[in-house]
Symmetry: C2
Subunit: 216 residues, 2 copies
DNA sequence: ACCTGAACACCGTTCAAGT
DNA sequence: ACCTGAACACCGTTCAAGT
């Protein structure tokens, strides 16, 4: 029994059933331990959540050495995204931690510090680096920030609209969905390549930053 | 008693104490009603949360008529941001709804449909519109997606690092924070203008989209 | 038929009783 | 001193008993 084992068990439980299925009692059960035993290694549930986030941020690859700023930032953000794909419950928890005005955990601070260092080493002024951090926003941690995920894995909705009703009520969404499905030669699923779209948005942002760096 | 009154009471409670302080029992109490009476107007708590989000999206201004696409999108996103500033718990709830793979609610669908319509009317191809929606991501709903809010309103942390320790451990963050504070002629607070940074990031994104529209 | 109180199966955390 | 079971104050929701 150690703090690390508690956090690992908590992360595993969240990976399985989402953060709603996470409870102190279930973590204890998974570890074959009485619930109150957890409080030896963790102050309370909020501190446990902070620890879990810290563990995830530790999974992000360190910056590649001897790379220009753009390659370094891009690689790190894509590594963060791979981490989030392994732990899809993380954005929700991070969001709730921010709203609770919790101080960022050490691993997050270190991550942000090193990211700022990459920009600075790449020639960004302090001011431009500050803007760059805001521009990147939660994309720095790999948030894909989709407003709706594809409907592929969703439970079939009994009172879902018919295609005709969809087209009548949401003509633009329907046209877009059909065009994308046709492009990908697939009628099944949304036909939308999330990885491509993420990199598209990331590169557009990096392009904008590069332009600011060259002509401030 | 009506669905609208239930949703309004729920939104008011969340505005006051955040979404963690929201419970069916407290909503009922605020309405002077027995808890089970809520289930006449709302199927369960998840459906209540969907209803609350729907109500918020309804607060976003409709698109201004006779404006070019960029003005229309910009205005609408800034209106969405003003809505989120009134209801800071909303991003967390929206995030959790997405992760639960809940189908987007009608008001969200209508909002997205009309936003797609703005891009299309502005001359964006179906394909470019699709990319644009992904690029905008949750910024479409006004998410400011800061990784850490300013430390101004945060409770004083008893075991916070001293300025010297901060500078030693997180040199780049410290340098950035000091430069920003100096810029704004203020040592109090983060000295960081969130509204300015939001519009800076938004405009950089819109610049990128405009460039793609002109030279595909 | 409608409404609602009690009850059920949870939850995070306190605390006193045990070792 | 450490550990832990029971208890407390909650929670969302079911359901049977009341009207």
């Amino acid at each position: 029994m150690s703090r690390g084992r508690v956090l690992a068990a908590a992360v595993a439980l969240a990976d399985e059933g989402g953060v709603d299925a996470l409870s102190m009692r279930k973590i204890a059960q998974a570890l074959g331990v009485v619930p109150m035993a957890l409080y030896k290694h963790v102050a309370n549930k909020n501190e446990l959540l902070d620890g879990m986030i810290d563990a995830l941020v530790g999974e992000i690859d360190p910056p590649v050495a001897d790379a220009d700023w753009r390659t370094a930032v891009r690689g790190r953000v894509l590594s963060a995204r791979r981490m989030l794909l392994r732990h899809p419950w993380a954005p929700e928890v991070i969001e709730s931690r921010i709203k609770a005005r919790t101080a960022p955990t050490p691993a997050v601070m270190e991550y942000l510090d090193s990211m700022i260092g990459i920009f600075r080493a790449g020639g960004f002024s302090l001011d431009l680096t500050h803007h760059a951090m805001h521009v990147m926003g939660s994309r720095l941690l790999g948030f894909s920030q989709e407003l709706f995920s594809d409907s592929a894995g969703r439970a079939p909705d009994p009172d879902a609209l018919s295609p005709e009703e969809m087209a009548a009520r949401y003509p633009h969404i329907t046209a877009l969905a059909m065009a994308v499905a046709h492009d990908r030669d697939s009628v099944v699923g949304s036909g939308c390549d999330d990885q491509f779209e993420f990199e598209f948005a990331l590169d557009l942002t990096l392009d904008g930053l590069e332009r600011l760096l060259r002509a401030p």
